[in-house]
């Protein structure tokens, strides 16, 4: 079974801005992404927790997208723009997949 090298983007971003990030990913041309809810977190000096946060204004979500190197780089550039004004953290890593034509 052959495995193929791809990139995994993991973007932790405030809930209110997540659709902006999704649109960026779609424009860049990734074939898919999945959004996970989160329940608590810490950054800088602030802790937040979902059951506390009635306005969802400090809620974060995690967006995962498996894509190829090129699109990952392009996506990162655009996401850097979003993270200029919105709260969030982005990282990429290497992953292997079975069917490279899907990403």
């Amino acid at each position: 079974m052959e495995l193929h090298q791809k990139r995994r983007i993991e973007l932790i971003i405030e809930r209110m801005a997540y659709k902006r990030a999704c649109r960026v990913l779609e424009q860049v041309g990734v074939t898919g992404y999945t959004v996970l809810p989160s329940m608590a977190g810490f950054g800088g000096k602030n802790r937040w927790s979902r059951d506390t946060d009635i306005s969802s204004a400090s809620d974060m979500v995690v967006i995962i997208s498996i894509t190829d190197e090129e699109k990952a780089d392009e996506a990162l550039e655009q996401i850097a723009n979003i993270l200029g004004s919105h709260i969030g953290v982005v990282s990429v890593s290497d992953v292997q997949v079975l069917r490279p034509e899907l990403f």
């Binding site: 801005a17 649109r23 306005s55 204004a57 723009n81």
Partner: protein, 329 residues
């Protein structure tokens, strides 16, 4: 002030204080978000329906239209006052000040509901059009705040990537509370007393009980908001959360006096003006002014102004409404 005390000792407020106390003592208890969000939809349907049914009973008088207009104008104006005061007394930057000001021009539906109960307890009647006023007051403040934030700045450095035309508008005009309030109001109006009779046990009979449960959760939220945001506050900012509602209240009481509103309606309009948003406006601000720090405006509106209004504020506003009515009556 007997009314004030009986308001404070009503189960609704006691449950709020229970929640707030538990949060301040760092209890880990919580009402699941999905459940309390469901309850909030129930509450908005209930007051929308009630308002609509009442409005259907009376023709649209000039007074009604004047109240609606007054609400909109107040929501537009109050942010300017709030902004000026914040610039004067605190070190918040322009954006933070504008974002915070938006919250005080907009309204808190839960504060409104608590006031409705208190006004009823105090023996006054209220008109259904105040619910419509509440819905109308949600958004104008946001426009003022955006103008304030951008005034004097060179053209903005371009949109955030991924922004979409209309996303702010949709968020602001079609958020849950606007949709449900206005929709239920219209449904109450169309169906009338008879048409809504079969759903009354749910929406009227349970209303105050559900409110207790909801205010327990609001107390937990407010207490936690206060405890977590405490460190970002300084005295001038904190004080703003207490005096700003009073300033809005005084201005609105004057307006009510001029319009000659009955005590009940005046008390509710004053409460609306004095209340600060902590759901709709924060969401809009994250889209429209993402540079503004949520910890500032959320702590103020949810952690300071909301508890102040629900406990101490409402009795004051009812008293103000009484004074305004007696001066002009």
């Amino acid at each position: 002030m007997d009314t004030a005390l009986s308001t404070l000792l009503s189960p609704i407020i006691l449950f709020f204080m229970l929640g707030m106390g538990a949060a301040l003592l760092r209890s880990q208890m919580s009402v699941p978000e999905a459940f309390s969000k469901g309850l909030s939809i129930y509450l908005m349907m209930a007051i929308g329906l009630k308002g609509g049914v009442e409005m259907a009973k009376n023709p649209l008088t000039t007074e009604v239209i004047l109240v609606l207009a007054a609400g909109v104008v107040l929501s537009f104006l109050i942010p300017s006052i709030a902004f000026a005061l914040l610039q004067l007394t605190t070190k918040l930057n322009r954006t933070d000040a504008a974002a915070t000001a938006a919250h005080y021009g907009s309204i808190s539906i839960v504060t409104f509901v608590a006031a409705t109960e208190a006004v009823r307890l105090a023996g006054f009647e209220t008109g259904g059009h105040l619910v419509a006023t509440a819905a109308l007051m949600e958004t104008p403040a946001i426009i003022t705040a955006l103008i304030l934030a951008h005034r004097g700045q060179s053209a903005r450095g371009g949109e955030v990537a991924g922004s979409e035309r209309g996303e702010l508008l949709r968020e602001v005009l079609l958020n849950a509370s606007v949709v449900v309030l206005v929709g239920a109001l219209a449904i109450g109006w169309i169906a009338g007393e008879e048409g809504t009779a079969s759903i009354q046990p749910f929406f009227t009979g349970l209303f105050q009980g559900v409110l207790c449960l909801f205010l327990l959760d609001m107390g937990l939220n407010a207490g936690r908001g206060l405890r977590q945001g405490w460190r970002q506050m300084n005295l001038p900012t904190f004080a703003f959360g207490l005096y700003m509602p009073l300033i809005s209240a005084v201005i609105t009481a004057a307006v009510c006096g001029v319009l000659g509103l009955p005590v009940g309606d005046a008390a509710l309009l004053i409460t609306l003006a004095a209340s600060a948003s902590y759901i709709a406006v924060p969401a809009a601000m994250r889209l429209a002014l993402p540079e503004a720090k949520p910890s500032v405006y959320l702590t103020l509106s949810l952690g300071v102004t909301f508890p102040f209004n629900v406990t101490v504020g409402i009795p004051i506003y009812i008293a103000m409404a009484g004074i305004a009515a007696s001066l002009t009556g």
